[in-house]
């Protein structure tokens, strides 16, 4: 049960971040934050296939985390999210074609270790 929930946190969470990034890069930079423009943005995102799958995947990951927290304590739940920092950096390099220098590799690893310690 715990392993299933952990997989339901990491896999949809990672997929959601990748899809949302792809979808938002295709949408173009969001520059105008007036309420009317934000409503137009939401309307256009509802028709964006990447975001339309990414946001529900994010919700699956969120509810799986809530479920895991209700049956196990934080020290079981958080290592999964800490691990995803490094995993997503690797995927950002190969799938999103982001250029990742040593500062980002070291930074993401430090953040992952830090999050692990903060949660315990």
């Amino acid at each position: 049960m715990k392993w299933l929930l952990m997989a339901l946190i990491v896999i949809p969470g990672t997929v959601a971040d990748l899809l949302n990034t792809m979808g938002m890069k295709r949408n173009g930079e969001v520059c105008d934050f007036r309420p009317s423009s934000i409503f137009r943005l939401i309307a256009s995102l509802a028709r964006n296939p990447y975001v339309a799958v990414g946001v529900p995947a994010m919700a699956v990951s969120f509810f799986a985390l809530m479920a895991l927290l209700s049956v196990a304590n934080l020290s079981v739940a958080v290592p999964a999210t800490a691990f995803s920092y490094v995993l997503e950096t690797v995927l950002a390099k190969y799938i999103l074609k982001e250029r990742i220098g040593w500062q980002r590799w070291v930074g993401a690893s430090l953040v992952g270790c830090g999050v692990l310690l903060v949660a315990i």
Partner: protein, 180 residues
Amino acid sequence: MGHGRGDCDEPGLTREFTARMESRSSTATLRSVLNNRSQPLRLKTRTVIVLVVVSNVLGHFFLSRGLHEVGPLVSFAPWPYIHAFLNPLVAAGVALLMVWLITQLSLLSRVDLSYVLPVTSISYVLTALMGKFLLHEPVSTERWIGIGLVVLGVSLVARTVPRTAPVLYRSRNLPYEAAQ
């Protein structure tokens, strides 16, 4: 395809301003271009990051306090969830998390995922500090070391160029670009 800084540039405004300068328009006209009422509300990437972090921390804080008041939710029926929304803390938490979703997506439209994830993780530090100073929860040595590592990691990543991913399309939510 180019590599942007992730800060929206201002082609429309700059172009109009330069054109007016070259045609030697009066100072009043130039000022009216700058004070144009239909100007979009632009936010710097740095401001968007602050909004993402603050809405995330406060959203989760209100949601967890509110759900604590409501009691456990273990049901597949919709009624208990609708009932939970009537709690003002839960409603505030959900509203803030909606702000988080929109600002997070806006941030991803402008900068790299491998920049956003580590930098916004400063929210873990804020949550821990809020627990210490508002709720007077003790912070263990391990947690202080963790906070230090997160801060170090964030400051390393924050020094990199925010956007290296190719720019596929220019902004679609700027009013005057659509008109050009």
